[in-house]
């Protein structure tokens, strides 16, 4: 027997595999492919106070070993989430985490306060790192004072587990991680997408309507892994690692680098059953290495 259970700063995960916001819908899109209750948890689509239509099409460009997206937080808003989506999905897993975003601090705070009232949502992931919105999003996550300010205000109203999702589009991600830790974040997740772009040489136009977008997929994995390792050496709160994880081996790399759990993102688009395969793969890895507790490999590097 191998223990895969993780105590993620009070959040008990049956295994370290979660899904990344914006890649797993509200979970229900994957119920034909995955036993949702077997996941460590899942993080639902970025939710804002008001409904958002997102950016114009085209919003996606395939790139070598990855993809760019510029969805721009299309979502139905917090009312629709609380009134119709939440009652429908809450049975799927005990760790359904809501990714919260906003254009200004008041929006973050109000959204977080609403989710605080939802009985079976044990955590939020505060998105201060979305690169695809004109206001808010990444603007908060790229300087220490603004990151501190939004976490401080949300912390006042949000009483459960507060995870903060960090942007890699910064000079020193460690400083941002330390700043949000100081303001009471319970954990950090990293990394969000890397800002990138792609051009169609036939039309001589950008491939995305917004010109730039967020790069995800295996192309960014080495950068993500490096950042997880750096942050893990500098903060006491646990880390949820993500960025280009395609298989169990990738997930184990992140845990060895210091992540206590991981999120699977873009891989869900290519193999909608991938999360189940990764959980099984982690189990097999531990069995074959004689590791009885997954916690033993966290931060070995």
């Amino acid at each position: 027997m191998v223990n895969l259970e993780i105590d993620f700063n009070g959040l008990i995960l049956r295994n370290p595999v979660l899904t990344a916001s914006g890649t797993f819908g509200y979970g229900e899109e994957f119920k034909d492919f995955v036993n949702l209750n077997a996941l460590g948890g899942f993080i639902v689509k970025g939710t804002t106070l008001n409904p958002r239509q997102g950016n114009p099409y085209p919003r996606m460009a395939e790139t070598p070993k990855g993809m760019l997206n510029a969805v721009g937080l299309q979502n139905k808003g917090i009312d629709e989430f609380c009134n119709s989506i939440y009652p429908r999905i809450k049975v799927y897993n005990k760790n359904i985490i809501v990714n919260v975003s906003g254009s200004n601090i008041d929006e973050y705070v109000e959204c977080a306060a609403r989710i605080n009232e939802l009985e079976t949502i044990p955590a939020i992931e505060l998105n201060i790192s979305c690169p695809n919105v004109k206001q808010g999003g990444m603007a908060f996550g790229t300087s220490c004072p603004s990151a501190k300010q939004v976490v401080k205000e949300v912390r006042k109203v949000y009483k459960k587990h507060l995870m903060v999702k960090l942007s890699p589009n910064v000079t020193d991600i460690v400083a941002i991680a330390q700043a949000v830790e100081e303001e009471g974040a319970d954990s950090v997740s990293l990394i969000n997408t890397l800002l990138g772009m792609a051009i169609d040489i036939n039309t001589q136009k950008p491939k995305l309507s917004t010109i730039t977008g967020g790069l995800s997929g295996p192309a960014i994995k080495p950068v993500a892994l490096r950042m997880v390792w750096q942050v893990s050496k500098a903060v006491k709160i646990p880390i949820c690692g993500l960025g280009g994880i395609m298989n169990a081996g990738d997930a184990i790399e992140f845990m060895l680098a210091g992540a206590s759990c991981v999120q699977i993102g873009t891989a869900n688009f290519i193999n909608p059953s991938v999360t189940t395969e990764i959980i099984n793969g982690i189990y097999e890895y531990c069995s074959s290495k004689g590791i009885s507790d997954i916690n033993d490999i966290i931060g070995k590097i």
Binding site: G22, T23, F24, G25, E29, F30, D32, F33, K45, Q53, G54, P56, Y57, P58, R59, M60, A61, E62, T63, P64, K65, G66, M67, N69, V71, Q74, G217, T266, N268, F269, I270, N271, P272, S273
Partner: protein, 255 residues
Amino acid sequence: MHKYIHDLRVVNKKRINPDYYILELTYSDTLADMFPGQFVEIKVENAPNTFLRRPISIYDVDYDNNILKLLIQIVGEGTNILSYVEPYDYVNLVYPLGNSFSMPENNRILLVGGGCGMAPLLYTAHYFSDFGYTPSILIGAKNNLGIIEPEEFEKYGELHICTEDGSDGTEGYVTQHKLFESPELFDKVYVCGPEPMMKAVAKWTVKHNIHCEVSLENLMACGIGACLCCVQETVNGNLCVCTEGPVFNVKDLLW
């Protein structure tokens, strides 16, 4: 409707011409129910620069022999590398995806396909024919190389062909075909093809107050409504082509 991720075995690969091939695939168990207009997301192995699956329309389903047919146009590295699969190879599919064309109410129906957009219309004609309807079918392409398996279409309806260079059927665009001089013959029109063609047909149907459904092929990643990349602007906001489409009533589009 349940979606599946399955490895399907290649039974046959028909190379039609340098640009088009047909994959005939079978599954170890009975194939899922599929509806006209639906599509699959196919994984391309050993394509270094192809990261995502490729969305491909269902070209035909032969339930008697448990075979799913895909008509594929080579448009890039993914569809090119996929063309090298051989019988007994396996390809991984996520399917069946998307909504479907609505059923006709009578024989006053016209199917219009342009280029590779004719692919979903074969299964549509086949399906409608199984329910006793005889559609009029118009397929168009740049030249005769783009007119794929007309004998298959002829099994299920009254086939009309046009090519831009006149190398097969009537010369000109599909909308220049004489069928478009007789709007009084049709209650429903089903279209798939290049966007300018679909828009031209849609405009004609709106003018003559004919019900019109188009099948869109926006760039997509997941195919199951998670990534929100393939959205189309509609009167109901941005909707995912992969789950709310690919078939839309033209009245819902902001064309």
